[in-house]
């Protein structure tokens, strides 16, 4: 069985979802790559920000 850490799960989820978003939402390979990278950064960034917000709320 596979038991990743929570952050590893976020990384995997973001990688796969961003790949599909990039390919399906844009026309050219360069724009696909850029949009995929953009989505990946947004996924990871929002997860980190929300994690800190939840930590501060819990205190």
């Amino acid at each position: 069985m596979f038991h990743p850490s929570h952050f590893a799960a976020v990384l995997l989820f973001s990688l796969f979802a961003s790949t599909v978003f990039g390919i399906t939402m844009r026309d050219t390979p360069q724009r696909m790559f850029r949009y995929g990278a953009y989505c990946f950064i947004l996924f990871i960034g929002s997860a980190i920000v929300l994690s800190w917000v939840m930590l501060l709320i819990a205190r």
């Binding site: 596979f2 989820f13 796969f16 979802a17 790949t19 026309d27």
Partner: protein, 135 residues
């Protein structure tokens, strides 16, 4: 960073043959709709991403939704069905049947549902390629 959406391409492909074949093939197996149109790299990336997400979801002991007892289960079944044959084969072999007991298993359940939803997006993209709305 440019995030402008795709511009619609004027219908340059003819409507010869069965237009919905890439849509159905893409739903049944991730990436198949793109393979049918010679988009090998796109299809391979989609297939690897969606199949990996589904398999990792099962490996995390995620749950495959099978019954529609409430609205959330119904939505879960709809999402899972998006993976097409992967869902049917997994059901056939009894995978993903154990109840969720850990946090990681809950993540796995979400991985499986999202893999199905992403596959639907990919199948619609294959259909758009077939009809010429996307190049």
């Amino acid at each position: 960073m440019s995030t402008t959406p795709n511009k619609p391409v004027a219908g340059k492909k003819s409507d010869e043959g069965f237009v919905y074949l890439p849509l159905i093939a893409g739903w049944l197996f991730p990436g198949a709709g793109h393979f049918l149109q010679g988009k090998w790299i796109r299809g391979m990336l989609l297939a690897v991403s969606i199949v990996a997400m589904f398999v990792l979801g099962l490996a995390m002991q995620g749950l495959l939704y099978t019954s529609v007892q409430d609205i959330l289960s119904m939505l879960g079944v709809a999402g899972d069905l998006g993976t097409g044959l992967l869902y049917l084969l997994s059901r056939m072999f009894g995978l993903g049947a154990q109840p969720i007991q850990t946090t990681v298993a809950d993540y796995g359940t979400k991985f499986i549902v999202v893999a199905g939803l992403l596959n639907i997006i990919a199948a619609v993209d294959a259909h758009n390629l077939r009809t010429g709305r996307k190049s």
